[in-house]
């Protein structure tokens, strides 16, 4: 009896252990095959001259050196990607924070507005891009028709090196603003009510209240959302593919579009892997910053 019980427990425990491993097996295998394996393999490929129609040989850092030193297109794509991020991120964050502040108040019809502004989030980027491409058509697009109505000069929105990127930025911001707005809304609801009561008693103006209570309280959310939005913006692809095809000239040729072209249109797998790895390194650094900050903030909250 004394010996029987522990033995039974031990079998139970080892059964639980094996069941545990069994339950996580598919997802662990998936991780190794579809994420970890490919990322390691892509790293290896980035040191080769692997292409569809050639032999594969290790060429050391040549791909990276070529990208950094000799490939003018690469730097164009970096500049364009940074331009896109620098335009999209502030626009998106400021707009979504403003909307969240407005929606936080308990006035009639708030739910309707929240739903409306969130709607583009669920729609395919391809459809969104197509419709806006139509709206921004040069000859007879709605925006130009309206400009003509008011007697202005029509603008070739998607065919001008000056206007195309700003147009794509605005269209992308409108697609994603609902997502960040909802996250900010949740963060705003977590701010303790008595803080506002206190500031009201002190006679603080609305701007003062925002600056000294709301903003500090939601700073963690703002940083998190900013980093997530930056990472997303560095991977911009679908709307570029649909709306501009990288043009006019190379004015909207962004990193992922170039990686896509090199890998799946020119089949330069080695070089494309090196480009992809440069992008991944940037994302990795941003993610590590995000994790580090999150840990600190979680600590503060406790």
């Amino acid at each position: 009896m004394a010996g029987g019980k522990p033995a039974g427990l031990a079998t139970l425990k080892s059964k639980e252990m094996w069941m545990g491993y069994l339950f996580i097996l598919p997802i662990v295998a998936g991780y190794l095959i579809f994420l970890f394996g490919p990322i390691v393999y892509a790293f290896v490929m980035s040191f080769t001259n692997w292409s569809l129609f050639g032999n594969k040989a290790y060429i050391g850092l040549d791909n990276y050196i070529y990208a950094m030193r000799d490939d003018p297109v690469f730097w164009d794509t970096v500049v364009n990607t940074v331009y896109f991020s620098a335009g999209l991120v502030p626009l998106n964050i400021v707009l979504s924070l403003l909307l969240a502040m407005l929606l936080k108040r308990k006035i009639w019809g708030i739910g309707l507005f929240r739903t409306a502004i969130f709607t583009p989030v669920v729609v395919s980027l391809v459809v969104w891009g197509i419709v806006w491409k139509f709206i921004f058509s040069t000859d007879g697009g709605l925006v130009n028709l309206l400009i003509r109505t008011f007697g202005g000069t029509e603008i070739p929105w998607l065919f001008s090196e000056t206007w195309t990127m700003p147009t794509v930025i605005v269209v992308s911001a409108l697609k994603g603003v609902g997502m960040n707005m909802v996250i900010f809304l949740a963060a705003l609801h977590d701010v303790p009510k008595d803080y506002y009561e206190a500031s009201k008693i002190d006679g603080a103006s609305r701007w003062e209240t925002f600056k000294s209570i709301t903003l500090p309280m939601i700073t963690p959310a703002v940083f998190m959302v900013t980093i997530i939005t930056v990472i997303g913006s560095l991977k911009v692809f679908g709307q570029i593919y649909v709306m501009t095809g990288g043009g006019p000239g190379t004015s909207t040729y962004v990193m992922v579009f170039y990686i896509f072209k090199q890998a799946f249109r020119s089949y330069e797998f080695g070089y494309a892997s090196a480009l992809a790895f440069i992008l991944f390194s940037i994302i990795l650094v941003l993610t590590l910053i995000q994790w580090k900050l999150r840990k600190r903030w979680v600590h503060y909250e406790q």
Binding site: M19, G20, G30, L35
Partner: protein, 277 residues
């Protein structure tokens, strides 16, 4: 004081109305244009609502391309990916939250790191492997990697975080009664995890339905296209047939909009609850 409040409320309504109109307008314009003739599309002044509704555009969508196949492909792929992701992430999420086994937390952290690996980077080796296996121009690369890749990791994470908050007595009682982990999972944990799984399903379905990059690199045969890829192919041809393209876009968008309007709180709360964790 009261006047000030009214003015500020009016200002809020004004801003909200303007932004809402801007983001909803494309949907109105898409439907309106999908019912026009090609000659009406670029008329000046713009025709907000077409004079005669050209329903024929919606018939042309199905006669001029295998659109029913695009729709079917998108649908069955999204359903399979969603079902698979839910099942596998529930199973693993339960194990990580409630079962005890060595290296559990280390493995979980390792999996978590997978969420930051971009598809755009893994796509290059995966394309080569899929090509060696003969899976190019099939739906396999659109089903397996999303289900078991970063989408799956996200699901595991959500389910685990959810189940970890459930009182421990529930499965202890089941254990006492001699329930196996599988029975405990199926009859106790799975029903409890339903809210988390609803969030997982919504995100997975939405991502799969809208996925563009993967079908673009893997599919060549028209009959195998999904909706986003089928639509994008219509824009690259010289001279776009806008009523046709926008009619097709409307049909492609309606299902996701219907689901969204029916379950909007789930969508929005899902984002709000997961966005910051």
């Amino acid at each position: 004081m009261n006047n000030k409040k009214i003015t500020s409320n009016l200002a809020s309504y004004l801003v909200l109305t303007i932004v809402s109109s801007i983001v909803l307008f494309p949907f109105f314009w898409m439907v309106s244009t999908s019912l026009k003739t090609e000659s009406e599309v670029f008329l000046f002044p713009p025709q907000w609502i077409p004079a005669a509704w050209e329903w024929i555009n919606y018939i042309r969508v199905f006669t001029e391309m295998p659109f029913h196949l695009y729709f079917f492909n998108s649908m069955y792929i999204a359903v399979l990916v969603t079902a698979g992701t839910c099942f596998l992430s529930a199973l693993a999420g339960y194990a990580f939250a409630r079962l005890h086994f060595p290296f559990k937390n280390a493995i979980f952290l390792f999996l978590l790191s997978g969420m930051m690996i971009p598809t755009e980077v893994t796509a290059i080796p995966l394309f080569n492997w899929m090509s060696n296996l003969g899976f190019i121009d099939t739906h396999i690369p659109l089903i397996l990697p999303p289900m078991l890749g970063s989408g799956g990791m996200f699901g595991v994470f959500l389910v685990r975080q959810f189940l970890i908050t459930v009182p421990i007595e529930l499965d202890e009682a089941a254990k006492m009664d001699g329930c196996s982990p599988w029975r405990t999972f199926r009859s106790i944990m799975l029903p409890i995890a339903t809210p988390a799984l609803a969030t997982v399903s919504i995100f997975t379905f939405m991502n799969s339905w809208n996925e563009f990059f993967e079908p673009l690199i893997y599919l060549n045969t028209k009959e195998l296209f999904t909706l986003p890829i089928g639509l994008s192919m219509l824009t690259t041809d010289a001279g776009v047939d806008w009523p046709l393209l926008l009619a097709a876009s409307t049909i492609a968008t309606v299902p996701i909009l219907v689901v969204f309007f029916l379950a909007q709180n789930k969508f929005i709360e899902g984002i709000a609850n997961t966005g910051l964790k």
